[in-house]
């Protein structure tokens, strides 16, 4: 998508994070993270468990408060805004573990997603057109759905809010590899509409497939940044595990090879 070869820094980012420091109690979960997501870009944050990926995304959504640094959306500082205000402006997140409303039906979950929606192309009807099984099962409680189906509903709930930037936290978490393939297949369909996405993923191969830009985190710090085409598998592996010159020396814990 950003195959223009030019320096992306010359365009105005839709979402910008500057020198973000976030603490969980005493723990410094994020230590000076910066990133710039351009309109239409798919930006992937990769890293191992506990690297701070989810914390970064949750801070951008407004669920954590940074000790230092700022979050800018479309040029304005949103660091002090509550999550619901950010959602209203178009920063919409699919949280880790799906977090569907368990006592609500599929359709009601989508209706809550649309309750404070911005004007835009996504409607509940369009979500049903894209995932036709959902229309037939719209009256069911989400607990009766499989993990992959739940993840799709969570994605739909975020889309009907008509996000300007969509934050995806670990779409693949707890799903079988086949299902992950299918989810990412759907994601590519959605990305084709030109949506700006910032995603966090432990499954590096999936992230590299869809991303136009990646950043690797390790213990709250940036270890690698660049376009997928410009980084080698060895660089990614070293950045992911924090081992200098680790080529071929490690056993990937999530079963996916970078």
């Amino acid at each position: 998508m950003s195959e223009n070869g030019g320096r992306p820094e010359s365009r105005t980012p839709l979402l910008e994070v500057r020198d973000l420091v976030v603490h969980h109690g005493q723990l410094r979960a994020l230590d000076g993270i910066s990133l710039r997501v351009l309109p239409g870009e798919v930006y992937a944050i990769i890293g191992a468990n506990g690297a701070g990926k989810s914390t970064l995304l949750r801070t951008i959504a407004g669920l954590h408060h940074p000790t230092e640094g700022s979050v800018l959306f479309d040029g304005t500082d949103v660091t002090g805004l509550r999550p619901e205000r950010r959602a209203g402006q178009g920063i919409v997140m699919v949280p880790e573990g799906r977090r569907l409303f368990g006592s609500l039906s599929v359709e009601e979950n989508l209706q809550v997603g649309a309750a404070y929606a911005r004007q835009g192309p996504w409607t509940i009807e369009r979500v049903y057109e894209m995932f036709d099984w959902m229309r037939e099962r719209r009256k069911q409680l989400t607990a009766q759905l499989s993990g992959g189906e739940q993840q799709t509903v969570a994605l739909g709930r975020a889309l009907v809010a008509n996000p300007r930037v969509l934050l995806l936290d670990e779409l693949s978490l707890g799903l079988a590899p086949v299902v992950v393939q299918r989810i990412y297949g759907m994601l590519q369909q959605i990305l084709a509409t030109g949506l700006t996405v910032l995603l966090v993923e432990q499954d590096v191969s999936q992230a590299l497939r869809v991303a136009s830009r990646i950043q690797c985190l390790l213990e709250g710090r940036t270890t690698l940044e660049g376009r997928p085409a410009d980084v080698t598998a060895d660089q990614v592996e070293a950045a992911y595990f924090g081992l200098a010159g680790a080529a071929g020396a490690s056993q990937p814990e999530n079963g996916s090879e970078p």
Partner: protein, 291 residues
């Protein structure tokens, strides 16, 4: 025949108990607040009605139209201020805050209105009138009207929660307030609406109780709160039908107890309450039917 009569009276008064209980259940279900001042709020509403009737000389029933919205507004404001402040600290803090509130309300009422008990609308045809079926069953107009109002209110509340936009948001926030925030919902506002409903329903029940029986500053904790808790526990949390059933079972148990011996009225109600707690702790109708 006396037993049939007892059961009918129990069912009718059970509607009022359910009306007391539904706000308690809603506030616990949505914001995890156990409102220990719930009964006192009913008494406050009753005293407000007495005051309104005395000061601006309106018909007794008109006081509902003034006091219920006023209490609902108070509910929204209190939720957005002290209750939210307590919630932001911890759920346990809300117990202390509502307990403190209960003490303050009771002593405030004692201070300004003395310990004498008061009734609302004594002498009204609705309050004193009754009709008879057969020779032994006598049904008062008031208990019948209260029961019907309670059923209509619970039906309305059920419909509101299951079909309206705000009802849906209330259920969503009760499930996962963080996820609701991510969908753009201000959960504090939604909490406020739930509290407004809870305060409004308990105000309605409080005035009705003042007409049915009488109110004293301590009625809130020694009667209303206990009955509301018992109805919620018997019926099962999270279901309005359960709450209605809980109220009715409590009412019937009390009336049957009273039929055996007048002093057994309260005892019989609480024996059923304990029996349910031991044998079926999730309540007669457990969650799953509806929020």
């Amino acid at each position: 025949m006396a037993w049939v009569n007892a059961i009918i009276q129990g069912v009718l008064i059970g509607g009022l108990y359910a009306l007391f209980a539904c706000g308690l259940s809603l506030m616990f279900g949505v914001m995890k607040v156990v409102n220990l001042a719930h009964g006192d709020l009913a008494v406050v509403a009753g005293y407000l009605a007495i005051g309104v009737i005395a000061v601006i000389h309106i018909p007794v029933l008109w006081s509902f139209l003034i006091v219920v919205p006023l209490m609902a507004l108070l509910g929204y404001v209190m939720q957005r201020t002290i209750l939210q402040g307590a919630l932001d600290r911890s759920v346990l803090t809300t117990l202390m805050v509502t307990f403190g509130l209960s003490v303050v309300i009771e002593n405030g009422l004692l201070q300004f209105f003395t310990a004498n008990s008061r009734a609302i609308g004594t002498g009204l045809a609705l309050v004193t009138g009754s009709f008879t079926i057969g020779s032994q069953i006598q049904i008062g107009y008031l208990p019948l009207v209260i029961f019907l109002v309670a059923v209509v209110v619970l039906l309305g509340l059920q419909y509101f929660l299951s079909a309206s936009r705000y009802g849906r948001l209330i259920r969503a926030v009760a499930d996962d307030k963080e996820a609701a925030q991510l969908a753009g919902a201000d959960y504090r506002h939604v909490f406020g609406i739930a509290a407004a409903i809870a305060f409004g329903t308990v105000a309605l029940a409080g005035i009705a109780y003042g007409m049915y029986s009488q109110l004293a500053p301590t009625t809130g904790t020694d009667t209303i709160l206990l009955f509301a808790f018992a109805a919620v526990v018997i019926g099962g949390l999270g279901s309005l039908w359960g709450t209605l059933l809980g109220g009715v079972v409590l009412g019937v148990a009390q009336q049957i107890g009273a039929q055996i011996s007048l002093s057994d009225e309260l005892l019989a109600g609480f024996i059923v309450f304990l029996a349910v707690l031991v044998l079926r702790p999730q309540g007669l109708i457990s969650r799953g039917a509806q929020s």
